[in-house]
Amino acid sequence: MKRSYILILFVCMVFAMTANANARSLEIDIYGPGQNKINLIQSKPVIAPAAQKSPQTVESAAELSKLIHNNLYYLPFMNLIKGKNILGGNIVAGGTGKSIDFKKYQLANVDLLVTEVWPEVPNNGRPRVELRAFEVFTGKLVLGKAYSELTPENMPNVADRFCSALMKKLTGRGEFFLSTLAFVKKANPKKKDIWTVRPTGRDLNRLTNMSGLAMSPTWSPDGRYILFSHIGKRYHSLGIWDRLTQRVQKVKFPGNTIIGPAFLPDNKVAVSLAAGGNPDIYLLNHKFKREKTLVQNWAIDVSPSFDETGKKMVFVSSRRGNPHIFLKDLPSGKETRITRNGKYNTSPSISPDGELVVFARRTPQGHRIFAMDLVTGKEKQITFGPGNDEMPAFGPDGFFVAFSSNRSGEYKIYLTTRHGGTPRMVKTGSGEATLPSWGMVPAVSGR
């Protein structure tokens, strides 16, 4: 009797454990208040014996592993575990769940295991790779992808696509690894150019090379154009860089002053012009002609930013004496002041879902980035210097926030999140880097 009682108890326990395991699925709520971190490890690449003879495959395996590792470093909810922490070595026998000893990874508290398997490729073909991610506790396959015809050139794309798919699986959003940052880099005190770089630091490119200052880049929703304001010796102009022609066109406006253009989802553009005698915000049509006035009063009105519906616009206005952030509901035309604290709030960026606004506030310690929840009306400081943290810009996922900071002495671009994770610097080479702006570049494009 006693024995059967113990047996029943044991069966119940096992049942409860498996049920618990099934309930615990690896999902990360990037918008939620509590930020849990998951422990991730990449196993050593598994190269099929026949493929080991190909130096191309061996080199590719090492390179891809490095690229994936570099990408994952930028995800603040990932804790990258080192291989030496795995008893018996960070090695798996193969790519399928059955050939993996999950126990040793469980012992090291690993949540997610990424395996990279390089099978044999017949007739000296180009290398092929199978990338998988497993939930270590259950051994469940979270994601499996295969990529063939690998070359040194397309390897970074493979790493990006896999990491994007993995992030999407875990959080629901994967735009980060497919996005590109446009920013301003100082060549000398009288010359600033527009550059682009992947947020993970790859593909650094200079787009413009004009005398004068190119500033405030903004991407068209389709990734084809980058608009910017250009400050020449005598004139301001609206610069239009076209990906197809790789050329810049310049347009001038009455009143000379042109500040901070921003694309709307329908490809129209909002920009501050002084056509009426002081900087007001105008809407330009598809041919960059003034269509209507969005914000007009005696004060300074600059830095428009739109949500993904194009119905909500945040901007800076000095109508109350100091610069503050205002929200304009475009369908109703209602303008509301949303910052009540501080005396100098500028550079707003609204999240694509229209719920959160990040902006820079001047504090006694320097500028800091704050996030204002439009639903609750509460604000939270998300960067803490030192120096100045300025020009925040929401990423397309509404999670990442890029900003520029001189915390290391010179202005550089950093990434944090809407919750204020540890900032990570984006590699932009030498020279002051400011005014980041996110865009999605079509995959087929060379840049």
Binding site: K190, D301, S303, H367
Partner: protein, 183 residues
Amino acid sequence: MMKRFGFALMLIMVMAMSFGCAKKQVAVTPEEASSSETAVVEVVETEDSASMNGTAQANEAQLAEEVAAAAVALADTPILFDFDKFDIKPSYRAILKQNAELLKKLPSMRILIAGHTDPRGTSEYNLALGERRARAVQDYLIVLGVPATQLEIVSYGEERPAVQGSNEAAWAQDRRAEFALIQ
């Protein structure tokens, strides 16, 4: 004599304007095309430059000297502003009055008023603030009788500090509107 002087003046203005135009290498918008500059350029074609004689040349040289001296005087006296402000302080009214007299005396002289800020704000807002400062000075000069056609404005925001330094003394010099001769 008076007529000749007027003619020489006209010629200089035309030359100054055509140089200004030659510098621009940008797409011309319809808004620009309708501006007065196009009309002035057209005068060049109807003007007979060969008729210029020695007296006119002498006058031109004298005028150029006067303009150059005035430009130096103007460039030496920037108008300074308080933090995040663009109202002209009473102490600068006398300087602006002098400037206005100079400009009225030399109607061929065209100046660019450049608005600047200190580096403590953020770049886009500072571009707007620089614009307000340049325009405040421009409006003040116009009120004093300077023809608007002699004045142009541009904002450089915080991009061209007057002096290096991270203290109030340096910032006070940065918050300014400066005058430069339009060549």
